[in-house]
Structure formats: structure tokens, C-alpha cells
Amino acid sequence: MNETSYREIAGNGLWKQNSGVVQLLGMCPVLAVSSSIVNGFSLGIATMIVMALSNGAVSLIRNLVPGEIRIPVFILIIASLVTIIQLTMKAYLHPLYLVLGIFVPLIVTNCIVLARTEVFASKQKTLPSIFDGLMMGFGLALVLATLGAMRELFGKGTLLSGIDLVFGESAKSFVITVIPNYQGFLLAILPPGAFIGLGLLIALKNHLDSRAQSRATAAEHMLQST
């Protein structure tokens, strides 16, 4: 595999190969934790940190590890990093940890993390690998935040609820009530809301892509005919 340019890595992570809406890896957190912006984005960022560190670590040791124990070593690295993040979060962001609960340790089993170490970091230099982890993780965080925003808005009529879990009591005033006296739309908060919302996001992305493509071909035709 050739070295990939940073611009390409960013494009892949954030859009073309987005782990949330294109590769569809790591659906467990995407569907379960995306009930609000704060939950979704927080878990997304935690995943991003794990991915950047695990990609970096794997890339550093890629020439030391014999092929046959590659996967066990990668998993060991990922599991250690996730445990470190889990303990840190439990110590410093305890209320948020209570909300995200089991999904923090479950980052270990998120396919996208192992996939990027195996596909990218085990073959590339350290800096591009870290960047790839950052971009792939951030792409996922953005999808989680968007989906969280959609579900929160339709389900509860607010945005950024629960932000005090991250920034303390004083942040309570950041919560935006978009629709006052909203009765709530339960479907959006419950699991079906996650599936429907994700489906809509994928449809939107495909629509934007196909529109961009048809424009590009149209432009080509114009060039050829002149």
C-alpha cells in the first residue's frame, strides 16, 4: 500500500469511508448511545481518542510483531487503551460515565477500531496512522452527534440536554429548548428511532454523493461537446 496523503485520509474518514454511514462498522454505539447530542458526541470523542492512540501504537510496533500474533497484540493494545480511558472517565467525568455506562468498555468490540489498526496502521507510518485514527473517529463522532441531535430534537424537543454531565452544573443553561412544552415523541428516543434516523442519514449522504456525481459527469459532457 502506498503512502496516503493527509488530505485523502481526512476525506476518507470524514466522508468517503465514514465509519458511521458508509462502512457501517460499530453500529452498537451508533444505535444505542445516539439518543442525544451530548451522549453521542461524547462516546464518539472517546472512540476517536482510542482510535488515534491505538493506530499510533500499532504503527509504532508494526515491525516488531510477527504476523501470526498480530491480531491478539492489536486487541491487547486496544483493550488496554479502552480500560485506561474508562478509568480516567470514571474518575474525572463520573456522571457522564454513568450515562454512557457499558458502551465505554464496549469500544473494545467496536469493529472500526480493530479494522483501522489492521487495514491502515499496520502498514503505514506512525503520524499518518494517528491522523487516520483521528479522522475516522471524528467522522464517527460527527455521525453520532448528528443522529443524536435528530433524535433529541424530535424525541424531546431540546438540544444539548445533559451537557451538565460534562461541564458541571453551571452548564445547565446551555440546554436549548427548541420546542417549548413539547409532549415528546417516544419513537425517536427508542431504538427504532436510531434505525430510522440512521437510514435517513445514509439516504441523505447517498443523495448528496449522487448529485455531486451527476454534476461532475454533466460538466464532463459539456467539456467534450465544446
Binding site: I61, P66, I69, I77, K90, A91
Partner: protein, 211 residues
């Protein structure tokens, strides 16, 4: 040159071992650094919940340090030992906070935290965990509705045994139409917890620390 398979696997195992040692060391270090903070956060979290069910200023002791283990008991519905906390003012017992499980919620167990005053009156009840239907049975959560406060000040002497039921079953306690199973389970569990505390006053309201 072909390598001896034994040597090759020995070498591979040693490399694996090296990673395990480094990984474990990192984890041990993080655990050590965060351990105190985590147990403090967990203590704070428990205390915050306990404070919700006790009247403010009722006690002056650290409840976390006056905890007793309650063995599995039919009246409390707990299958594993739980912890009860004893509130004291100047060493005299004033209230006890205990956990009770309602096994017959609409979808599984409902865990409750119940504070009972020295005179047998309930000072507060909160739901610790449940799996009731969101938007329907979850009004037992204090964050969703004030329903759980209907138990405040209730006691075995002020509410006769037969009235420890939801209104639909001829009892005293309100419920929300369409979700009767949930409050029925909670009312039953609170009633039984009161019976437990009545039978175990010596333990829950012990004068001195009986360890």
C-alpha cells in the same frame, strides 16, 4: 534457512508476553492513579441519592461509614446481600436507608431506595433502577414525575395493611391509568420493606455500632 518450529513459537510467545507485561503495567499504573478518585465519586453518587430520601439536616454522621450488610431477605426481595445505611444525630439513631427490590415490575426488577424514620414513617423513596416502558411506566422516576413522593410520611400505622395497594385494587395509592403493573409492584415492595424494618428495628436502629 528454515527455522525450527519450536524456536519460532518460543520467540513469538516471548514477544506476546512482552506486550502483555507492558499492557498490564500501564493498566496497573492507571488503576492506581485513578482508584481513590473513583471510589470518592462513587461515594458521592451514593450520598447524593441518600440525601434525596432523607430530610435535610437530620443526621450528622457519614452514612457511607455506618453501613451494614443485609442478607437476602424475602421481605426486601433481594437475592444478593445489599447495604443499608444508618443515619444518626449525635450518635442516636434517627433513620435507616435500605434497598428493596420489586421483582414483579412490568419488565423485570425495580430497585428502590427507601428511607425509614425512627418512628416507622417513610421519609422518602427513590427508584435506583428499572426497565419499565419509557413514557408509560417510567413515571416512578423522580425525574419524570412526582408520583414516588406519595409514599412520603406513610407508615404501617397510618396506612392499614389492606390499603397498601393502588386505588384500582381498593387501596390508597394513586396510579396512572394504563400503567398499573408498575405502581402495583412498587407499592407492594415499599409495604414489605416497612414490614421488614418493623421486624428488624434492633438491627436498623441500633444504638451503638454493632459490627
Amino acid at each position: 534457512m528454515k527455522r525450527n518450529p519450536f524456536q519460532a513459537s518460543l520467540r513469538t510467545s516471548l514477544i506476546m508476553l512482552g506486550f502483555v507485561v507492558v499492557g498490564t503495567a500501564l493498566l496497573a499504573l492507571t488503576y492506581d492513579k485513578t482508584h481513590d478518585l473513583i471510589s470518592k465519586s462513587e461515594e458521592d453518587e451514593k450520598l447524593a441519592l441518600i440525601e434525596q430520601v432523607l430530610p435535610p439536616g437530620i443526621s450528622d454522621n457519614n452514612l457511607i461509614h455506618d453501613a451494614i450488610e443485609i442478607a437476602p431477605n424475602e421481605l426486601l426481595g433481594n437475592k444478593t446481600p445489599t447495604t443499608a445505611y444508618r443515619a444518626r444525630l449525635k450518635g442516636k439513631p434517627v433513620a435507616a436507608v435500605l434497598e428493596a427490590v420489586a421483582p414483579d415490575g412490568y419488565s423485570g426488577k425495580i430497585t428502590l431506595l427507601i428511607a425509614i424514620l425512627m418512628n416507622g414513617e417513610i421519609s422518602g423513596v427513590r427508584v435506583i433502577s428499572h426497565n419499565e416502558t419509557p413514557g408509560l411506566g417510567d413515571y416512578i422516576e423522580i425525574g419524570k414525575s412526582k408520583w414516588i413522593r406519595i409514599f412520603d410520611h406513610a407508615s404501617l400505622s397510618s396506612v392499614p395493611d389492606a390499603a397498601w395497594q393502588v386505588k384500582k385494587d381498593g387501596g390508597k395509592f394513586d396510579y396512572v391509568t394504563g400503567a398499573t403493573v408498575t405502581p402495583r409492584a412498587v407499592v407492594k415492595a415499599v409495604h414489605k420493606a416497612l414490614e421488614y424494618s418493623e421486624k428488624n428495628r434492633a438491627l436498623l436502629f441500633a444504638d451503638k455500632d454493632m459490627k
